[in-house]
């Protein structure tokens, strides 16, 4: 095609665009880098000098403290357990529901869809839901965290859309070869559905890993707390582990330790997601694309 030389005005606009994008990236990365660097610094040095270039101001004390805090480790393992169980349940349930709802011949499709979609716009709210969970005896158990939210209408719609996009000939060919419908679903359709399963699992895991509200409502025992609730105590409620308090008498030293822990806690809690992040990227858009196709 003909290449048209951009006008001076267009080049200025483009220049501004790139500058703004660059500033945007800087605004996102800046605080993150600050927290990471600060997590290796001595709080008094950080307080007096800010980010410094003197090697003497750096140490690993914050990380030692955090890693010796049993609550953090337990919270980490709890969160891993809750998020994994939740992911398996929600993906299974939603993919299973999505398949029949993707078939034109499935009788009752409209009715069932309506039943689901109503819940996207109207709900009983916090307290009535809590009372149901309480009535079922799920309070202070893992079930309260993995069962009530397992059905996601949005995920069912995503799965249904994906199944619709699979070629129909596949089904017919398998039938001619004598496969029963249920065999076709498990042997042919599901293996082809890895992308959608992966996308749903990714979102479910990340969402659950980052959530603190469900556990705040439903859990009582501290030893069942997932990471986010432990972090809430350290970062927001400013409460240091009683074991450390017992050994430290002075207020100033306590304040120093609590400052030390904060930055390291932020960094450590983000590690699992940061490690997975680059591998996720190609799935982000896939997920949104599938969703936006309707």
């Amino acid at each position: 095609m003909d290449y048209i030389k951009p006008t001076r005005m267009d080049r200025i606009v483009l220049g501004i665009t790139y500058t703004l994008l660059f500033l945007g990236v800087l605004m996102i990365v800046g605080p993150l880098i600050y927290v990471v660097v600060a997590s290796f610094m001595e709080p008094t040095a950080l307080l007096n000098k800010g980010i410094s270039f003197d090697v003497a101001d750096y140490n690993l004390e914050g990380y030692k403290l955090i890693l010796s805090d049993d609550n953090i480790l337990r919270g980490f393992l709890n969160a891993l357990l809750y998020s994994s169980v939740f992911t398996v349940i929600t993906v299974t349930v939603c993919v299973f529901a999505g398949y029949p709802l993707s078939l034109d011949a499935f009788i009752g499709r409209k009715m069932i869809m309506t039943l689901f979609i109503i819940t996207m716009f109207f709900g009983g709210g916090l307290i009535p839901t809590y009372l149901v969970v309480k009535q079922l005896g799920m309070l202070d158990t893992i079930w309260a965290l993995v069962i009530p939210g397992a059905v996601s209408v949005w995920n069912i719609i995503l799965a249904r859309t994906f199944f619709r996009s699979l070629p129909k000939e596949l089904n017919e060919a398998a039938k001619i070869d004598g496969g029963s419908d249920i065999m076709i679903f498990f042997r042919i359709v599901l293996p082809l559905s890895k992308p959608i399963v992966f996308v749903l699992a990714l979102y479910a895991f990340v969402g659950h890993w980052n959530d603190f509200f469900q556990s705040l409502i439903y859990l009582d025992s501290q030893d069942k707390y997932p990471l986010q609730l432990v972090l809430r105590r350290i970062l927001i409620l400013n409460k240091v582990d009683p074991n450390i308090i017992a050994s430290v008498k002075e207020q100033a030293e306590l304040a120093r330790l609590s400052e030390l822990m904060k930055y390291a806690a932020i960094v450590i809690s983000s590690i699992p997601l940061l490690v997975m992040y680059p591998f996720f990227q190609k799935y982000f858009e896939k997920g949104v694309m599938v969703g936006s196709l309707k």
């Binding site: 980010i51 109207f122 009983g124 009535p128 419908d181």
Partner: protein, 300 residues
């Protein structure tokens, strides 16, 4: 009848949907029935059915309480300002990203822009506390320019600004994906033709790109309007404290406090229901307005 035969031969399909239906009925429809407690004086011993009816008593109490006005307007202001400031950012971001021609560069920028979406609210609010503390880096900057340190997290006048700006930091990149995807549908020939006709870059964005993503903008707007009273309860709960409650106390934090800290289930459920109904009204209103403006394309 053919229907029955279909169900009989394909019963396994129904078995597949069954778990979802059961869970939805138990955890979504039972609570809708449980909303009745908003009109009753709920006691756990008597159960939902056994508790006494009090009609609109809890609603009246809420509407007449001295807190009401503050809660209502705090909620409304936080979400409306949030929408006004936050809604255009992802659109602008997507339009700008669309100008980045080098695929690899675009991917890398996006990688950074999406990152905050994966940081938990607890960590984001934790970061706000350390970064905005009176001795934190932002205040160092303030002092470097000769200002006095500000305790951003405990002064009511900064709550909204901090809440909304950090919200944009968290979500704008991620929210832009859907527009980026929609912009990918623009036919490049249109741009070529327009350029040949002498259209400037800004003109092409205005007359080609924006109209293409208009339907997506409409849908996102409707959905956002439907949560105008509800958005962000989790984060507000984390940022809430006795000192900033003049502006940080919103209906969802109030529902939590009354319900769980005071175990006042009926009153809390009534406040929550009030909120839900306003959201529903907003959704329907905005939907009908958008339908009129957007050639009949709404969501409901």
């Amino acid at each position: 009848m053919g229907n029955l035969r279909y169900i009989k031969t394909n019963y396994w399909l129904y078995l597949l949907v069954l778990p979802s239906i059961v869970l939805t009925i138990v955890f979504k429809y039972f609570p809708m029935y449980g909303v009745l407690i908003a009109f009753k004086d709920y006691s756990y011993r008597k159960g939902i059915l056994g508790s006494e009816w009090v009609g609109f008593h809890h609603f009246e109490r809420f509407l007449n309480s001295p807190n009401f006005e503050q809660l209502f307007f705090n909620t409304l202001k936080l979400n409306i300002f949030g929408l006004l400031l936050g809604f255009p950012v992802p659109i602008i971001l997507a339009l700008m990203l669309n100008q980045v021609r080098k695929a690899a560069m675009k991917k890398n920028i996006q990688l950074f822009l999406y990152a905050p979406n994966f940081v938990s609210v607890v960590v984001v609010v934790g970061m706000l506390f350390v970064l905005l503390s009176p001795i934190g880096p932002i205040n160092k900057l303030v002092m470097a320019f000769g200002g006095m340190p500000i305790s951003f997290m405990s002064e009511p006048e900064y709550f909204r600004t901090v809440y909304i700006l950090s919200g944009i930091w968290q979500g704008a990149g991620w929210a832009s994906i859907i527009y980026v995807a929609a912009l990918a549908n623009v036919d490049p020939e249109l741009h070529n033709a327009a350029t040949l006709d002498g259209a400037s870059l800004l003109q092409r964005i205005w007359y080609i790109d924006i109209p293409t993503i208009k339907p997506v903008i409409a849908i996102v707007l409707i959905l956002a309007a439907g949560s105008i009273m509800g958005g962000g309860g989790d984060k507000a709960l984390l940022m809430w404290n006795e000192m900033n409650m003049e502006t940080s106390d919103i209906i969802s934090t109030y529902v939590y406090r009354v319900g769980f800290q005071q175990a006042n289930y009926s009153f809390s459920a009534a406040v929550d229901l009030f909120n839900t109904i306003i959201n529903l009204i907003m959704l329907i209103t905005v939907n009908s307005i958008v339908k009129r403006v957007n050639e009949g394309n709404g969501i409901v």
